[in-house]
């Protein structure tokens, strides 16, 4: 019982902390300027561009998936600074993740993003598929 409470508390508190770290106006602007052109105003993707709406949160089920969202070229090579990139990622997850988001979201930090984006992905499509396969495998257990 108490264990459940602690978990719930953790989820709630991290949820609060999560939102507090985002300046929504700035995050929206950076999303629009750097991401929306391809991913669309609602993160819906289309025309070969991956959908984030109701999907992006899936990646947060594994460490590999979490890293992937920073290492994809759109993130890693973007013109945004580390803290702006971390903020926009956190905002996108909150905004578009919906039911795909796992509980207990941990926001990306500028430091984490700064390290990860130094190793951007090259063969992104195959890697993305393997990341998702690993996540589905995990869910099967």
């Amino acid at each position: 019982m108490s264990k459940v409470c602690i978990v719930m508390l953790l989820v709630m508190s991290s949820g609060v902390a999560y939102s507090q770290q985002i300046n929504p106006a700035r995050a929206l602007y950076n999303y629009q300027m750097s991401c929306q052109g391809c991913h669309g105003p609602e993160g819906q993707g289309g025309g070969g561009v991956p959908r984030m709406q109701g999907f992006v949160g899936l990646f947060l089920n594994t460490a590999q998936g979490r890293d992937f969202l920073v290492q994809v070229p759109g993130s890693a090579n973007s013109a945004l600074g580390n803290s702006e990139l971390a903020e926009v990622l956190n905002w996108m997850i909150e905004q578009f993740g919906g039911s795909s988001n796992p509980p207990g979201l941990q926001p990306y930090t500028a430091r984490e993003v700064g390290i990860l984006r130094k190793s951007p992905l090259n063969e992104v499509n195959a890697y993305r598929a393997s990341v998702l396969a690993n996540i589905t495998k995990g869910a099967a257990y």
């Binding site: 391809c38 025309g47 070969g48 561009v49 994809v72 070229p73 759109g74 890693a76 090579n77 973007s78 013109a79 951007p120 992905l121 090259n122 063969e123 992104v124 499509n125």
Partner: protein, 400 residues
């Protein structure tokens, strides 16, 4: 319209003359019926072209901005002074395509898109291989999934590497990739992803580099079978927001000279397996910098065979003037990092191309889309190609 009137007038005049001269025995036309008749000609003749093309020939690439399904490459002798001797032939390039000419093969490649119903229907992306001597298609390489880059003409959207054994073509969906084609078998070998990067700058023996969104480069080394040997990222050498570089370099002996919006040249060595940043240098003197001379245009830069590059420049430049062209062509010795000449153009130009050989010609597309020819060494204006049948020749290539 004018010609029609002329013909009408002439035939009316001729009838009148015939009528008047009917009673007289001599022919008022001054024609001589004693002459032998013109030999009978055969139908069905089609001309062919010399190989190699003479140094004074150029390709003008009309992307047909107002009707993009009908782009065309016209082969022009810029040293000739009449239309009939200037125009050598043409071939079509559909939907803002890309082209590259081989040196060692009798082939020129066009990267095109077709729809089964013209502007709609089923899309087919294809590299069409044309013969340089007949300008007829020799073969087609069809994309399994259409995804080629469509946009303003880029010299580095279609490139040859590995002694012209492999052809590389740039795709954009907006995911970026490069399709590798074996020109012996005329088959697609591979598609290489170049995420976050763009275009194809031949690198080393069998590789290419691409410019990336962070101002760095990604170098891809390929095997003879078109597979990736390695992909290596190079750190940013310019700021894509604050001080961007043009994606249009002059490449001289394997070294790329990328002009910047603000008139700095970035030197990238492409001779090794991986692109290597060498240095940057200022194109301007202090007084020119005060006048804010900047490069601008579409085909804004080209090189000659003597190690010089030619670049369109305009004064009073600012963010927003980078595509506008220039009033002058500035000529630099790339190795010495020294300007050799300033050529004041007769009219504002948006694109230039330099011919081959020791005494190259310089052809520019002026603001009103005319093709003007200059002597590259002296900068002297020679002629305007008056009737090339080109509406928007936004790219010019000296022949290879």
């Amino acid at each position: 319209m004018h010609r029609k009137h002329h013909i009408l007038f002439r035939s009316a005049f001729a009838s009148l003359v015939v009528a008047l001269s009917f009673s007289i025995t001599t022919d008022a036309h001054g024609s001589d019926s004693e002459l032998p008749p013109i030999p009978i000609e055969t139908t069905g003749k089609v001309k062919t072209l010399p190989s190699p093309y003479p140094d004074s020939w150029f390709w003008a690439f009309d992307v047909a901005f107002g009707h993009m399904l009908d782009g065309k490459m016209t082969l022009i002798d810029a040293a000739a002074s009449t239309t009939r001797s200037q125009i050598k032939g043409m071939f079509n390039v559909s939907l803002v395509g890309a082209v590259v000419e081989a040196t060692t093969r009798n082939e020129i490649y066009a990267f095109e898109t077709f729809y089964s119903r013209g502007n709609r229907g089923v899309r087919t992306d294809v590299v069409t291989i044309y013969s340089k001597t007949t300008l007829a298609p020799l073969a087609e390489i069809v994309w399994p999934i259409p995804k080629r880059y469509q946009g303003m003409p880029e010299r580095y959207a279609l490139q040859l590497i590995d002694d012209e054994k492999l052809l590389l073509a740039y795709n954009f969906t907006p995911a970026s990739s490069v399709t590798v084609i074996d020109l012996e078998s005329r088959k697609i070998l591979n598609e290489v992803a170049i995420p976050g990067c763009t275009l194809i700058y031949p690198t080393g023996k069998r590789g290419f580099s691409s410019l990336c969104s962070n101002g760095g480069m990604l170098s891809t080394e390929l095997s003879p079978e078109g597979q990736i040997v390695q992909q290596t990222r190079m750190d940013a050498f310019f700021d894509t927001d604050a001080n961007p570089a043009f994606e249009r370099p002059a490449v001289i002996d394997g070294v790329a000279y990328y002009p910047g919006f603000e008139s700095y040249v970035h030197i990238i060595d492409l001779r090794g397996k991986v692109a290597r940043y060498v240095d940057s240098w200022d194109m301007l003197s202090a007084s020119e910098r005060k006048e804010n001379w900047r490069p601008g245009g579409i085909g804004l830069i080209d090189k000659d065979d003597m190690g010089r590059f030619y670049i369109l420049m305009h004064p009073d430049g600012h963010d927003g003037t980078q595509n506008e062209g220039g009033s002058e062509v500035w000529v630099y010795d790339a190795k010495k990092q020294k300007r050799m000449a300033r050529i004041a153009l007769r009219s504002w130009a948006v694109t230039l191309g330099v011919g081959k050989g020791k005494n190259p010609l310089l052809m520019v597309t002026s603001g009103d889309m005319a093709l003007e020819v200059y002597d590259a060494a002296s900068g002297a204006y020679l002629r305007t190609i008056e009737d090339a049948g080109q509406e928007t020749p936004l790219m010019i290539f000296g022949v290879k």
